[in-house]
Amino acid sequence: MADVGADQLDDTIVSEPLDLVRLSLNERVFVKLKGDREIRGRLHAYDSHCNLVLSDVEETVYVMDDEDEDLKTIKKQSEMLFVRGDAVVLISPPLQS
């Protein structure tokens, strides 16, 4: 048991899903939120609710334009952001773009 604990502390073993988030601390992550929102930023803190604290954040909101029926994107920047966990759908270290 003690060996397993030591492995988890200093290794990159993912034994529970939130370990993925722990391994992304201080990395830039991609977060998908409810309501067609996406966020990219550096992950500073998280908890079991998936409350997140991110810095250097770019938020992308996808909006359907009713007149043109085009998918519009709105981008917002913020220095520091707290995200409430219940809005989180997905968290990923951004390999893509």
Partner: protein, 93 residues
């Protein structure tokens, strides 16, 4: 109760099917960890990848993940954490 042999016979088919999940959904989930799975969310978006692990909230970690919206591949991720409350189903493929 009156017939022990009949009881055990009646039980054996159940035991065969229980190899899949031991009558326990979480046992099924631990059985398919490491396998390729499809995870559908309430929004209809589907993620396909290798199931790394699941926890009691049904939070999910996937590897080599592909995101399908309306059946069309929209995105690919190396690793993905999916918050459990969004999950509609998990299926081994």
């Amino acid at each position: 109760m009156s017939n022990g042999t009949a009881d055990s016979q009646a039980f054996s088919p159940g035991e065969e099917t229980s190899e899949i999940a031991k009558n326990n959904p979480s046992a099924f989930l631990s059985q398919i960890t490491g396998a390729k799975v499809a995870v559908k969310l309430n929004s209809g978006v589907e993620y396909r990848g290798d199931l790394q692990c699941v926890d009691g909230y049904m939070n999910i970690a996937l590897e080599q993940t592909e995101e399908y919206v309306d059946g069309v591949l929209k995105n690919q991720y190396g690793d993905v954490f999916i918050r459990g409350n969004n999950v509609l189903y998990i299926s081994s493929i």
